[in-house]
Amino acid sequence: MSTSVNVVLTKHDLPDERGHFGPYGGIFASETLMSPLEELRLAYERFRADPQFLAEMDADLAKFVGRPSPLYFAERWSKQLGGAQIYLKREDLNHTGAHKINNTIGQALLARHMGKKRVIAETGAGQHGVATATVAARFGMECVVYMGSEDIKRQAINVYRMKLLGAEVVPVESGSKTLKDALNEAMRDWVTNVDNTFYIIGTVAGPHPYPMMVRDFQAIIGREARAQILEEAGRLPDALVACVGGGSNAIGLFHPFLNDTGVAMYGVEAAGEGLDTAHHAATLCKGRPGVLHGNRTYLIEDADGQIIETHSISAGLDYPGVGPEHAWLKDNGRASYVAVTDDEALAAFHALTRIEGIIPALESSHALAYAAKLASAMDKDKIIIANLSGRGDKDIHTVAAREGIKV
């Protein structure tokens, strides 16, 4: 199966040259970063068309990551739900246990090609940090990961994992001490060390070309899934479901299906304790457009334009922004954005674990919870693909603590 990042699209061939998806995206960065971003854009344009580099990436995705990931028919679960047939795209089976490495492999190869010997990254739950530290070890690069001090407390195992891989983990004490502050701090590092440093952003946000580049690297999820379902079921699915924090696994699944107008798309945000409470991270459902972290997109902010702290049981969805392409897909109606609560996600976490023998990440459990809801309301001859974006081993302490169990 070809994994070329150079997908030909007609109707959805965005962003434009300056990184706009309709009114969203763009480059809202301080002047010091404008030239480095242009250098990155030009390097990426060369890279995405260079067969030698694409072959290198394909080889790493096959031999190091373990692609293609299977498309698994969740037969028992579908039967119990009594509606549509649910297939799971098994990104949890990738090396390091999530979809994040699809992107870090691509960006690290690009960094090497650009002669940058130091990579930096931000991380929330630690998955992107681990995926970055992993490829940095693989390519022999210096690696610094910024992580909010609150997240460091919550994700001790991933912090240790990054250190084992040779990365330096820098605690961020400013602001809410979570993912958004880690992103601010990584940007500050980049602006200071721009000559020798490549900033590996973990999601489809940030200034152009990041939202486009990360999407292209993650679109392998959708390209594989599309070919796999055609082979397995002989037709395209009726719906796609994926969780959305920044939105990289969702855009990766959705993008190769954008021109398949019969395929509905659902991005599932974290409703936390409920959309009517102040404790959620449902940016597209409840936010409004603004500018943060280099791009225009939907944000969770107060009336004065200050960014508000978000809440989700899953650290990977706990972000007050969202990728600009999702903002555009929401406004133009091509995709629908919904939200499920902490409790609903937990119920799906347990259901998949007990019924299919797969422990899903809490992030992915949001997609599963909505897929279950959707399936129950659909006929048995319908097909849903849900993105199982990561495995849940990292979350068992959170789940146990929530249920009053000491592990």
Partner: protein
């Protein structure tokens, strides 16, 4: 003539350098700001750069980030900052005020509304750190319609082509960021600053201010030798952190440092 243009022209005539202190509005509490602005003018400030607090100040170092956090504890909003400028203008009709901040609070208020209220309040220029000229057209248009200047940054990484683009979009003055890094960083290289300022000067008649990394009277005087204006931010804001529990002492501390810098600029002229 705009206040900013008038300020640069009259000081240039007298062969004085323009001194621009930066403070974050509302730091450490809202009542401090306006009296301090007056005191800074008395101590030798020519233009005041008033920071609009933002929750995620990505281009700023830890000193100004902490200043934003102190101001935001009091929920200081963009509208309140504009009200502070209005209050300042009641007693000072000649010192230019430039707002410095991030785009999102302006987005939340609305470009047209912001420009109108800023003009009414007596603001003279606006510097939006995360808005490069490529994304500036809509806001710059609204500001122009209200005769407000749009100030842009030039960085050590800016190519010749970019400098030309920035100078074409800028009004008031051009702000050269003297180092690769965030506000308050170290490692100022005067030789490199002089070379870049010369390059900028070849492309514009606008005055050139230099900021980021100027920490005392000595470095201010060095920078003033090659620039039209010197911006001092983090060095002043450090005093706010040091005396945040005794805000009555801030004015004395800040104006003392400012007077020292003023003295160094005037001695070097």
């Amino acid at each position: 003539m705009s206040r900013i243009k008038g300020c640069f022209e009259s000081l240039r005539r007298d062969r004085h350098k323009v001194l621009i202190p930066y403070i974050t509005a509302g730091d450490p509490q809202p009542a401090v700001t306006v009296p301090l602005m007056h005191a800074m003018v008395a101590a030798g400030a020519n233009i005041i750069e008033l920071g609009v607090p933002f929750s995620d100040p990505m281009a700023d170092g830890p000193v100004i980030q902490a200043a934003c956090e102190r101001a935001l504890e009091h929920h200081v909003s963009l509208r309140q900052v504009l009200a502070m400028v209005r209050e300042f203008r009641a007693r000072d009709d000649h010192t230019p005020v430039v707002l410095m901040g991030y785009l999102n609070p302006v987005e939340a208020m609305g470009y047209g509304e912001f420009a109108r209220v800023a003009r009414e309040a007596g603001v003279d220029g606006v510097l939006t750190v995360d808005m490069p000229p490529e994304e500036a057209e809509a806001l710059a248009g609204e500001l122009r319609a209200q005769q407000l200047d749009t100030v842009f940054l030039v960085a050590p990484t800016s190519s010749t082509g970019r400098i030309a683009k920035i100078c074409a979009a800028a009004s008031g003055f051009v702000y050269y960021v003297s180092l690769k890094g965030v506000t308050g960083a170290g490692g100022l290289d005067i030789g490199a600053v002089a070379a870049k300022v010369k390059e900028i000067r070849a492309m514009t008649d606008l005055p050139i201010g230099v900021g980021f990394g100027i920490k005392d009277a000595a470095s201010a005087a060095q920078v003033a030798a090659v620039a039209d204006a010197v911006v001092v931010g983090s060095a002043l804001v450090r005093k706010f952190a040091e005396f945040s529990a005794q805000p009555e002492k801030i004015q004395k501390e800040v104006t003392a440092l400012l007077a020292e810098i003023r003295g160094a600029l005037d001695a070097a002229k």
